[in-house]
């Protein structure tokens, strides 16, 4: 075991895992996080905490992670390369590990022009692949990036994202392979709507035997409305939403119900797919639907670890 997180234990046991997502507030109010945690608890094995998601300044993912630990849910702390250089990254990793955080998701991060501080200076001292390498060296070699030794290493289960819907498509499997070579343990993918393209990507992944080297969790984002579906299709870079899904949302008498139904069907499709070891349900500001989706897809009760 690398970190002995619940997530790692369940994946090693071969369970089909469920992770959720929880975005901290743009305020110092811990109750917002506690409420979201309460909605997710029991339906997921662990939950991501976003790191200044979409480049909007929020309560930090480490603090929110500690709040989550206190509530009895396992956090997956997200860390982007946009806001920190290697000094800050390493010190945050040590700090997070010392506070009991065992899962880290290594991300490049959305560009700051998307957020509420477009005039800020970005960092990108590292990219996500180099961040994975850095965490692995800290954990497995007890070394800082500069080569200095440390006494107590951060025991971190290393995660990263993959987007099978980004371009160039033919590089997307190769990029996953690079993340694996860098030392990633688990992958959460971008939200899947285009099952066909996702399957094509997974075929490429399995063909190269990469599914044996990493745990892949398929991303699921339920639509709240037709407007949300169109927004994701047309406005969010690197997303693929087939026209039939938009049509379904358009025709539905109850759009919310249809959105949940599409999510359930997606989870079911992912469950059957070779090489997929779990789902990552991102019900952003709609956390109360996660139990319904998990239940609907036959994923409850969650197994828990002995």
């Amino acid at each position: 075991m690398k970190a002995e997180s619940n997530l790692e234990k369940l994946l090693e046991k071969g369970e089909f895992v469920v992770t959720g997502e929880c975005g901290p507030p743009q305020s110092a109010d811990p109750e917002v996080i506690r409420k979201k945690i309460d909605l997710l608890k029991g339906s997921v094995d662990a939950a991501n905490i976003t790191d200044n998601q979409t480049a909007i300044a929020r309560l930090c993912s480490m603090a929110a992670g500690v709040i989550m630990l206190g509530e009895g849910l396992e956090p997956i702390m997200q860390m982007t390369c946009r806001d920190r250089n290697r000094l800050a990254i390493q010190s945050d990793i040590l700090g997070a590990a010392s506070l009991g955080i065992k899962n880290l998701l290594c991300l490049t991060g959305d560009h700051q022009t998307f957020g509420n501080h477009p005039g800020s200076k970005n960092v990108f001292d590292l990219d996500s692949i180099q961040l994975i390498q850095l965490v692995k060296v800290m954990r497995d070699e007890k070394k800082f990036q500069c080569g200095d030794d440390m006494d107590v290493e951060p025991r971190i289960f290393i995660g990263a994202a993959a987007n099978p819907f980004g371009d160039p498509f033919e590089f997307r499997v190769a990029r996953l392979a690079k993340k694996i070579a860098a030392g990633v343990d688990f992958i959460q993918t971008q939200g899947v709507y285009d099952i066909e393209r996702f399957e094509k990507w997974m075929d490429g992944v399995c063909e190269r035997g990469l599914d044996k080297k990493v745990h892949i969790l398929g991303g699921v984002i339920p639509f709240k409305s037709l407007g949300a579906a169109k927004y994701i299709k047309f406005r969010v870079p690197g997303m693929s939403v087939p026209d039939e899904i938009i049509e379904r949302m358009k025709k539905a008498s109850d759009a919310k119900k249809e959105g949940v139904q599409i999510a359930i069907e997606t989870v079911e499709a992912l469950k059957e797919m070779k090489g997929v070891h779990g789902v990552h349900i991102m019900a952003i500001e709609w956390e109360e639907k996660v139990p319904e989706i998990a239940e609907g897809a036959g994923l409850l009760p969650r197994p828990g670890v002995a």
Binding site: C81, R82, R86, T108, G109, D110, H111, T113, F114, N122, F124, D125, L126, D127, S128, I129, Q130, Q133, L134, Q145, A161, A162, N163, F165, G166, D167, P168, F171, A174, R175, A177, K178, A181, A182, Q190, P237, G238
Partner: protein
């Protein structure tokens, strides 16, 4: 080329408040678009007109320098025309402004332009676009001659992020994704396997992060033995 843009006249006028005799110094060096004698003359006229509208009496004069970044040339060109001048507006890049500040002791030197980037023309698009970030550690050998540090919005070194779609960058749909360009070029060269190699964590100390960069002058002009 060093790409520059003119500052708005209003901003330039705000620097010049209270000054009576203003010299506009063009530069015939490498900055683009050209800001030589003609541009210096037209800015001088604009400043005079704007001053008149404000009810201020201002005298202007103008000239141009072959290379404002060369302190000897700048000094020998401008010293003879500094009589009575109490403010200078430089139409050079930021380097020229600083060299003039060094060599002209008696008058303040103000920037007439914003220095934007080092780039080249994209003729089809009708734009001039950044090409080099002067990071001091060229990796163009590994990236098919396309620089991800200057041209990827996140300066990524290991391939496109998830926001690359239809060849465009997530930041701006008009902007090419540098890593898509690198990918396509490597593919055309039959060297796509180069994309599989992990580029290690970069040493940014040669970039703008290691203190003011400098190099011994003799290194720049040293005769190097020719390779035959």
């Amino acid at each position: 080329m060093i790409v520059t843009e003119e500052k708005p006249l209003e901003e330039i006028m705000s620097f010049l408040s209270g000054h009576k005799k203003i010299l506009i110094a063009g530069c015939d060096g490498c900055d683009q678009p050209p800001r030589g004698l003609r541009e210096a003359k037209s800015l001088a006229l604009l400043i005079e007109m704007a001053s008149k509208l404000k009810g201020e009496e201002v005298e202007t004069t103008y000239t141009t320098v072959i290379k404002q970044c060369d302190d000897k040339i700048a000094h020998s060109t401008l010293s003879p025309v500094m009589e009575g001048v109490d403010a200078v507006v430089s139409l050079s890049c930021g380097i020229g402004v600083q060299v003039l500040s060094d060599v002209l002791e008696d008058a303040p030197v103000f920037p007439g332009q914003n220095t934007m980037f080092m780039g080249s023309e994209e003729r089809e698009m009708g734009t001039v676009s950044e090409r080099c970030a002067a990071c001091g550690n060229c990796i163009l050998d590994q990236t098919a001659g396309i620089c991800p540090i200057a041209r990827c919005s996140k300066s990524l070194l290991n391939g496109p992020c998830g926001g690359s779609q239809d060849g465009k960058c997530e930041v701006d749909k008009e902007l090419d994704c540098a890593w898509q360009l690198i990918h396509d070029r490597l593919k055309a060269l039959g060297r796509l396997d180069q994309m599989d190699e992990i580029m290690p964590i970069n040493d940014w100390s040669t970039s703008t992060h290691g203190g003011t960069r400098r190099t011994p002058k003799e290194m720049m002009f040293m005769d190097r033995p020719r390779r035959d």
